[in-house]
Structure formats: C-alpha cells, structure tokens
C-alpha cells in the first residue's frame, strides 16, 4: 500500500472520500490493487494526478471480476474512453458504484449501462440475447433464448417499443427483491 503521504496528498484523499463511498484506507487499498495490476505502469506517487490508463485485459484478471460474465462490459462502462482502459479515477469510480453502500438509484443507472451492450440507450433484443447467453453460458436452445427474451421484453416494456428504455428498466429493477444484494462487488 505504501506510504500514504507519498501516494496521495491529504486533499486528494479527502476528495476521494467525498466523491466515492470509500474510506481513506479503502482508497489506499484500491490504489494498491490498481498498482498490482500493472506495476510498471502505475506509479506510487499520485500527487500530481498522472493520466495513466490500465488496459481492460489486466483489469478483468482481478479475482473480483474474473468469474463475472459481464466483466468486460463493467469495465467498458466505467472507462472514460469507452475502450476499457481505466485510469485510477475510473477504477475507484467503478468499485464505488458497485460497493455495498451505494444507493439503488446509482446502481440502477450503471446496471442499465452495463446491460446496454450497443450503447444505444435502450436494452434491445440483441442486448438481452447477449446477456442471456452470458448468464447461461449458451446452454439454452435458440428457441428458449428467443422465448425468454420476448417474455422479458413483454414484462418490462411499458411503452411498447419492444425494447427497454431506462425508465422501463428502472421500473422493473426497483421492484426486484435481490438486485441490491446481487449487484455488488466487495473489494
């Protein structure tokens, strides 16, 4: 974890604590984890806000994400350049949004982004199919996949455009009993 004085200034740490759901210790630990991913890339000293990005392939190798079927999407969603390269800020942001204390509203927004594969601000049938195939490792037959996707859209689509807008999604998720407990990564 290193010496906190040399990694971040107090001011930076305070700012992180205000902008995320993490405590000082956790931010430092996150930095440690971040540095672990690419020791040659990430400097110990972050006081001057170096603009360093760690590529997606390294991020998804974290044990927290390794088994997640949506790992690539999660990282892409939080990366500023949309390519999956994460700066430390993005990295902290990602785990902050996914941590236990972050509110349902915030999680809903990010969940929507994660499941929206083609980034058209709608979860359409393609997105659903992709999600489903990742969830079941492709073990459902194509007919079953189609059936499930149709059903899902039928259930949640309120305005009848055959795709889920954010408000459809929000409405559906807000009633889900175990969204909060499942959409959560402990770092």
């Amino acid at each position: 974890m290193g010496n906190k004085q040399t990694t971040f200034t107090d001011e930076q740490l305070e700012a992180y604590q205000d902008c995320t759901f993490f405590t000082r210790k956790e931010v430092l630990r996150l930095h440690g984890r971040f540095r672990e991913l690419a020791p040659h890339l990430v400097p110990l000293d972050y006081t001057n806000n170096p603009d360093i990005r760690v590529p997606l392939t390294l991020i998804v190798s974290m044990p927290e994400l390794k088994e997640n079927p949506f790992r690539d999407r999660i990282v892409e969603t939080f990366s500023e350049d949309r390519q999956g390269n994460l700066s430390f800020n993005d990295f902290v942001d990602m785990f902050s949004a996914l941590c236990e204390t972050s509110p349902r509203e915030l999680k809903t927004i990010y969940a929507f982004k994660i499941y929206d594969y083609n980034r058209d601000n709608f979860i359409c049938k393609e997105d659903l199919t992709k999600t489903l195939n990742k969830l079941t490792k492709g073990e459902l037959t194509p007919e079953e996949v189609t059936l499930v996707c149709d059903k899902a859209i039928e259930e949640a689509d309120l305005d009848g455009d055959s795709k889920l807008s954010f408000s459809d999604f929000e409405n559906m998720i807000s009633k889900a009993p175990d969204f909060l407990s499942n959409f959560h990564i402990r770092i």
Binding site: A15, D18, C19, T20, F21, P63, E64, E67, N68, P69, E80, N89, D90, D93, S96, L98, T101, S102, P103, R104, E105, L106, I109, K113, D120, N121, F122, L128, L132, L135, T136, K137, E139, L140, E144, V148, K151, A152, E155, A156, L158, D159, G160, D161, S165, F166, S167, F169, M172, I173, S174, K175, A176, P177, D178, F179, N182, H184, I185, R186
Partner: protein
C-alpha cells in the same frame, strides 16, 4: 409557469426577486456574494413582494417531488436532512432546485445523453427553472447565458456581481447579526449536503472532483464567518454526533449481517439445488434463531435461577430419585427413557420448588416460570407475525408475483460477489435451471387438459388419502390406549418395543405416509406447484391428526393420574396427621418437630406434569432418530449402493429404478414445523426441551446440509412452494395456535400436582399471579386488575377490537380496489401506446365495439392512412438518438387524456393522430430546439 415568468421578466424584477427570495427564505444559496447583495437590495423587497410570492408558489409545487427524490437518492443523509428540514424546509428545496437547475444545465451539456435520460423525470421543472434563470441572466447581463460546464456557475456569479456592485468585501466588513448567522449555518449545511450527495451522482468522477472543489471553496469562505457565531461549538458537536451516529448504525448493520451463520453453506446448497431447497435451510436457520431466543428466556429466567439459588439436589423429596428407583437410576436404558436421574433433574417441571422467592435476590421463581411459559408463546407469535408482515412487504411495491419473472432473472440473478470458479459454474447451472424452470412454468400454464378423467382420478386420490388419514389416526389412538394398559403393568415385563410403541408408530407414520401421499398424488397430475401445495396440506393434516390424537390420549392419562394423585394426597395427609397425633400423645406436647424422613423415602404423587413432559421429550427424540436414520439409510446408503454397485449391475442404477434420492422439501418443512409445535407444547412441562431442540436444529443443519450435498440430486423440475416464505410461516402460525390451546387449557383448568413443580400447593397455576398482585404490588394495582378483568370492561374491549378489524378490513379492501384501478389504467395506457406504435385501431375492446357499431365507419380509413408517418418518424428517431424518446414518453402520458376522451367519443382514435405531432412543437418552446425538446419531456401533462 412560463407566463408568470414572462411577466416577471417584463417588469424586470426577477433578478431582485430572486435575491429577495433568498432572504425571505432565510436564504440558503451558497454564495456569499449573493447574500451580501441581498442586504443592499432589502429596501426594495417589500415593493416586490407580490412577484416573490408568485415565485414561491411555483416552487412549492415542485417541492415535494424534489424532496422525495432527494431522500431516495441518499438515504444515508436523511438525518442531516431532517435536521435541516425542521429549520427551513421551504427555503432549502427552493434553493436546491435552483442550484440543481444550474448544475443540471452544465451537466446536460457536458455529459452524454444517458445521463440526461435519467433526469427525465425531474427534468422539466428544472429545465424551466433553468430557463428562467437564464432569462434573468439574459436580462441582467444582456446576453444569452448558454455556456459550458462549470463556466456556467461562474458566469452566474459574475452576473450577480454585475447587477449589484457590492461584493464579499462588503459583507465581510459588517458584523453579522443573529439571523445572518442562522442563514450562514444553513448555507454551510446545504453545502455539506451537496458534498455528501455528490457520490450519489452518476457522473464521471473527474466531474465530481471538480464540483467538489468548487463546493469546498464556498464552505471554506463561510466557515470563517461561522466562527463568530455563539452556537458554534454546539453546532460542531451536533454535526459530529450525527456523523458518528450514522457510522455507528452502519457498523452495527454490518455486524448484524456478519452474525448470520451458514450463509456460505446455504449459498452452496442454493447453487446446487436452486432456491427451493435453500428455502428449507433458510427456514431451518430462522427456526434456530427463534429457538435460541426461547432457550435464552427459559435458561436465563427459569433454569439458571433454580440451579444457582434453589435448594440443591436431594434436599427435598421432589429433587431426589425415590429409594425404589435408585439402584437403576443411572442405567443407560433408564436414562435413555428419561427416567431415573433425568426425571428428577432440572429438565422437568417436577424439579422446581414452589417457594415463593429464592435466593438473596428474592427471585420469584414460580411467577417467572409461569410468565416464561406463557411468554414463549407470546414471543413466538409476535416474531412469526412480524416476519409474515415483513415478507409480505418484501413483495415489492405493488409488483405482482411473476410480473417480472424473466427480466428479474435476467438482470438480477447473477451474484456479482462470486469469485470462485466452482461457485460460478454452480451459479451458471442454477441460472440455467431457473430459466428452464420458468420456461416450463410458462408452457405448463398454456397446456390443455382432459377434464373428465382427471376429475375422477382426483376424487379417487382424495378418497384414498382420506382413508389413510383416518387409518393413521385410529392406529395412534389404538397404540396410545395400549400403552396405558402397559403402563399399569410392571416395567420389567415389557419389551423395549412395547415401551416405545407410541413414539415409534407416530414417527413411522410420519415417515411412510408422505411418500404414500405423493404416490397417490401422481394420479391427480396437477401442475407441480399446485401438487406441492396439496401435498403440503395433506401431510399437514396427517401430522395434525396424529398430534391431536396423541394429545387426547395423553389427556386421558392425565385425568387418570389426577385421580391417583388425589388418593396419594389423602394418604400423605392422613399419615401426617397420624404422625402428629402420635407424637403429641406420646410426648405430650403440641410442639411437634417435623417428621424426620429421608426425602428419598417420602410417599409422592405421580406428578402428571413431568409425565407429560417426558412424553414430549420421548416423542422429539424418537422423531429425531427416525429422521436421521432415514436420511442415513434412505439417502446415504442408497447413494453409496447406487454409485458403486452400478459397476456390476444388470441395469443402470443411477438412471433407472433406485437412482439417487431427491430432497423432500415439503416433508422436511412440515417435519420442522411440527417439531416446533411439539416444542411449544412441551416447553411448559419440560424446560429443558427448548435446549434439546436447539441442539437438534444445530445438528440438523450440518447433517442435512452434508446429506443434501453428498447424496441427493437436484430435482428434475424445481418449483418454489410459494412466492415467499409466508406459506411456511402461515403453517407455523397455525401450528403455534394449535399448540397454544392445550397448554393454556391445562394452565387454566387443571390443578397442579400437590407435591412437585413450582405451583404445588396452589389451587390453579395462575394463582401465582394473583398472589403476587396481592402481596407484592400496591393495593391499587390489585384494584385496577380487578376492574380490568371485569366482564363489563372486557366485552366492550372485544367489541372495539372487532370493530377495528372490520374497519381496517374495509379500508384495506378500498386500497386494493384503488390499486386495481390504477393497474387497469396503466395497462390501458400501455395498450394504447402499443396500439399507436403498431399503427392499429384501439386494442381497447369497448372502443373497438363502439367503432364497429358506428354507421359511418367508412369515414375512418382516410385519417388512419394519414396516421402512419408519425410513428415511423418517432421510431426512426428513437433508434437513432435518445432525445426523441422523451417526447414519446410525453405522448404516452398525454395519451391518458385522450383515452378518457375516447371513452366518450368513439371517434377519438381518428382525432388522436395529430396528437403526437403536436407534441414536439409544443415542446419546442425552449430557446434551443435540440435540448429543449429533451427537456420538455414531462411538460405537456403538467401544464
């Protein structure tokens, strides 16, 4: 709203108005400059008051909504917020709205579209505000205030500066008045809240950092001023305490969740067998928690005081094994039957002394015994009902069961916490299973049936099951009667089988009947979920019948014991009198010393309470044995045989006949429930029973977890018994009530044994309470008690309760109706929307009918031909950019009006066509067409 605004703009007071507003509301705008300026502006305030009021009204409209949203967005801050609310609800929200509006604007420009979309709900009001602000600024600065990002804020400030030439320097020089300090505090508070909410915003972290910095700069400026206030320390203390409290609460929550045991075990089971099997284990865990609490009561208030402060073993007759039994009292076979030392130990009712108070603490053991005995029921009732209530709330806010089955499965079933490849594989498997399950469910519901044959089979099945129920009841009655005969015979003459006949038969019935029922239920061919319910109901009836037959037989025994006890009581009294008479005549004195007999030799009654307690303990133990043995043999041995004999067998054992066992959810759950019922019933007569049950549940947890993981296979088709645990809970509640009855009956009617237990010497058990009231409490409380138990008072109370129930029932029905209506409306709006999209006539059946009836139907087609373009346009745009989407939503809302119109006028579908087209122009009112449309989302309906 806009018109009013326009007026304001025209008379050119808005800038002033806004500032004055801040003062009236004990302004919480975060900028010192503004406040400073206010002071200068104050003289004008009165003159402009009217317009201010108008503004306030506008803002008040939006206040509740906004507040609600905010609260939701950051529940963690609610404490802080409430504190503030009490001071200036209004000012805060109005301020906040403006502040937000400004932010919103900058955000919308710098952020991508998705975030905009999220704000759609609250968008309109803010947008309008924002536009107002802009207009004002436009007036003041004479330029269009459309700039980017953070610059916006700065521009705003500079605008202020230009309008009022005074600035910070002014305000800093002046000494602050009380009111201003108050205002200052609020501003700081506001600021802090903003900082606190920052983390809840879905912005890129860079942006958040920038905003944070700005906000912090404000605070710094202010806190210097705050230092001059008198209440600074108190204020700081309060803030600190609030923070600490929040932190403590969070830690406590973490601690609580960390204390829940077996989370991993259950997760393992869940990933292998699906949620239904896991629900049994969750129920088992819940039961364990409940029993731990009950055990705590029993142990802490009854057993420990008696052991610590009561007389030791052997001091009085009831606490020692009788001389005749002492030789065999330590034999294992005797102890195993809970006789010998076990019978005369703290485990059973008879051991407890009837002394009113014990020990230096004057602990009233008999009273405590009675209260704990009854309190166990009270507590269990409370917990069960509370859990049921919570479960029913958990169903989500109005979401019907199964409304979102597939979407929930799709979006919320992956557990992001999983980091272990094996678990992940299990999760994949369980998710796949659950999808298949739902698909089967879906198809199942659409299947057609051959009704006549099925009906016949169902009647036949029910007849068979009724027969077996009656048979089992008779068998138990027969066996219990026989055991009473046996009990009159000498102990040595009886074989082990004869001694334990009752328990064995009951356990075996419990073991054999459920599979029998299941086989019979095959005839019925219900949907698996329905079948499961029937099965549960039947097993429930079986267990209940058995239990109650057992109880009735037991009551016969108790009355017999009471008879013999009377005789023994007379005999002892006679012996005592004889002794006194002898003694006094012999020594010629009236001062008779107590009889010097060893406690073990005293003549004593049968103590029916202990006998009942022993019956229950034996029942529980034999139940335990049978359950565990059946798991061992029926699951484990079978699994081993199937696994290893399969190598050298003539058919495939794994796929064919014996196969591996499946976990029998319904049987296990009911077994658990009835076990608990017996605990409740027996706990009064055998305080140690609860402890025994805690042990049993603990063992069950590990044993069954192991068994299910190592020798069972997942069900081919898994269905949940019901949406929630409430089904089980309902059964539990029923059993609780049924086990309450006999206990209360015995407490209220039967007289306790004269020589054993805490109530010996009393006429009735509850006399202990009366005695305490008479002797230990002031007399007026006794009077109150007498009045309170007066039938004249109880009757009206009961009446009142009945009325209350009636009233609440009516109210809940009303709510249900309202709910239904709303749902219907939503569905209608949805149908209309779909209909519009699909470019068809109304899907509303009534409207369709009406259209059919119309004579001039030929007039309709031309307009409908015109209809296509709008939807197409909308869809096209919608797929390209999200901005158009809001417009569509606006239409969706507006639709409702149309729908209501349409109901009266069947031709409405025709007239509706221009509707959607009209919407965008209406929204284009904003200064910029592009974003303006986005903002106008919710606009139409609210005007």
């Amino acid at each position: 709203m806009p018109p009013k605004r326009k007026d304001n703009v025209v008379i050119k007071v808005e800038d002033v108005g806004m500032d004055v507003d801040a003062v009236i509301d004990s302004g919480s705008e975060e900028e010192a400059r503004r406040r400073a300026k206010n002071r200068r502006v104050r003289p004008q305030r009165k003159a402009k008051r009217v317009s201010d009021d108008e503004e306030d009204e506008d803002e008040e409209d939006e206040e509740p909504r906004r507040k609600g949203r905010k609260k939701k967005a950051k529940p963690r801050d609610s404490d802080e917020e409430e504190e503030e609310d009490s001071r200036s609800v209004k000012s805060k929200s109005s301020r906040a709205s403006r502040r937000k509006a400004a932010k919103e604007e900058s955000e919308e420009e710098s952020e991508d579209d998705r975030q905009k979309k999220k704000k759609r709900g609250k968008g309109v009001s803010k947008q309008e505000k924002e536009e107002q602000n802009k207009e004002k600024k436009g007036q003041v600065k004479g330029k269009e205030g459309k700039d980017k990002g953070g610059e916006k804020d700065r521009k705003k400030k500079s605008g202020k500066f230009s309008s009022s030439s005074s600035s910070d320097s002014d305000s800093d020089d002046q000494s602050l008045s009380e009111g201003e300090i108050e205002a200052l505090k609020e501003q700081v508070e506001e600021k802090k809240k903003q900082i606190a909410t920052l983390r809840n915003k879905p912005w890129r972290i860079k942006r958040r950092l920038v905003i944070l910095k700005e906000a912090q700069d404000f605070v710094e400026k202010y806190e210097g001023a705050l230092g001059k206030g008198k209440g600074k320390r108190l204020y700081a203390f309060k803030v600190m305490m609030a923070k600490k409290w929040i932190k403590f609460k969070r830690d406590f929550e973490n601690f609580k969740t960390a204390c829940i045991p077996w989370e991993r075990k259950i997760k393992d089971v869940e990933s292998h067998f699906g949620s239904s099997v896991a629900s049994y284990f969750i129920f088992l865990r819940w039961m364990y928690g409940l029993n731990l609490v009950l055990f705590g009561f029993m142990f802490g208030l009854v057993i420990v005081p008696e052991l610590l402060m009561g007389l030791p073993y052997g001091s009085i007759p009831r606490k020692i094994v009788p001389r005749a039994e002492q030789d065999t009292a330590m034999d294992f076979s005797v102890l195993f039957d809970f006789r010998g030392y076990c019978k005369y130990s703290f485990l059973f009712y008879g051991y407890y002394n009837s002394e009113r108070t014990i020990g230096v603490l004057q602990f009233k053991l008999p009273l405590s015994y009675l209260l704990v005995g009854v309190g166990i029921f009270g507590y269990s009732l409370m917990v069960v009902i509370r859990t049921m209530a919570r479960n029913s709330n958990e169903g989500g806010d109005g979401a019907e069961e199964g409304e979102f089955t597939f979407s929930w499965k799709m979006f919320t079933s992956w557990d992001y916490l999983i980091g272990n490849p094996e678990t992940a594989d299990n999760k994949y498997a369980s998710i796949t299973t659950s999808f298949k399950e739902s698909i089967v469910d879906e198809q199942e519901s659409q299947k057609d049936e051959n009704i006549h044959l099925r009906r016949f089979l169902r009647v036949l099945a029910n007849f068979l099951i009724l027969c077996s129920l009656g048979g089992s009841g008779f068998l138990i009655y027969f066996v219990v009667k026989r055991s009473q005969e046996f009990s009159n015979m000498e102990n040595e003459d009886l074989s082990w089988l004869e001694k334990n006949e009752v328990e064995l038969v009951m356990s075996l019935l419990g073991l054999v009947c459920p599979p029998l029922f299941e086989t019979i239920a095959e005839l019925e061919d219900y949907h698996p979920r329905v079948a499961l319910k029937w099965q549960l109901g039947r097993i429930f009836a079986l267990f209940l019948g058995n239990l109650y037959t057992f109880l009735f037989a037991l009551f016969d025994e108790v009355t017999a014991k009471l008879e013999s006890e009377k005789a023994i009581k007379n005999a002892t009294e006679w012996a005592l009198n004889q002794y006194i008479a002898n003694y006094s005549s012999h020594y010629n004195t009236t001062n008779v010393p107590p009889q010097n007999v060893d406690p073990a030799d005293t003549l004593r009654g049968p103590c029916w309470e202990t006998a009942v307690g022993i019956e229950f303990v034996k029942l529980i133990v034999s139940d335990m044995q049978v359950t565990y043995l059946s798991i061992l043999i029926g699951d484990f041995i079978r699994a081993v045989l199937v696994r290893y004999l399969n190598y050298c067998w003539c058919w495939d054992l794994e796929a064919g006949f014996p196969s591996y066992g499946e976990f029998d959810i319904s049987g296990n759950v009911l077994g658990l429930i009835f076990n608990q019922g017996m605990i409740w019933m027996g706990a009064f007569y055998c305080p140690g029973l609860v402890g025994l049950n805690v042990l049993r549940l603990l063992v069950s947890m590990y044993y069954q977890c192991w068994a299910v993981m190592c020798c069972n296979v997942p069900h081919e088709r898994v269905f949940k018994a019901s949406g929630s645990n409430n089904f089980y809970m309902g059964l539990l509640l029923l059993v609780l009530f049924l086990s309450l009855l006999p206990v209360v009956y015995t407490i209220m009617t039967l007289s306790p044994s004269f020589d054993c237990g805490p109530f010996s010497g009393q006429e009735k058990m509850y006399d202990v309470v009366m005695e305490t009231i008479d002797k230990d409490l002031p007399s007026f409380i006794g009077n109150i008690f007498v009045y309170a138990t007066n039938p004249g008072l109880i009757m009206p109370a009961v009446l009142l309760m009945v009325l209350a129930i009636y009233y609440l029932n009516a109210v809940s029905k009303g709510y249900q109706q309202a709910n239904l209506d709303l749902k219907k409306k939503m569905k209608m709006a949805r149908d209309e929307e779909k209909n519009r999209r699909n470019n068809k006539d109304s899907t509303n059946q009534v409207m369709k009918d009406l259209e059919d009836l119309l004579p001039d139907k030929s007039l309709i087609p031309p307009p409908t031909e015109e209809e296509p373009p709008p939807p197409d346009v909308v869809i096209e745009k919608g797929s390209k950019s999200p901005k158009i989407k809001p417009g569509a939503a606006g239409k969706g809302v507006k639709l409702q009006k149309d729908v209501s119109l349409a109901a009266t006028n069947p031709r409405a579908p025709v007239n509706r066509a221009p509707g959607p087209r009209r919407a965008p122009p209406g929204n284009a009112r904003g200064p910029q067409p592009g974003p303006g449309r986005g903002r106008g989302r919710g606009g139409p309906p609210r005007q």
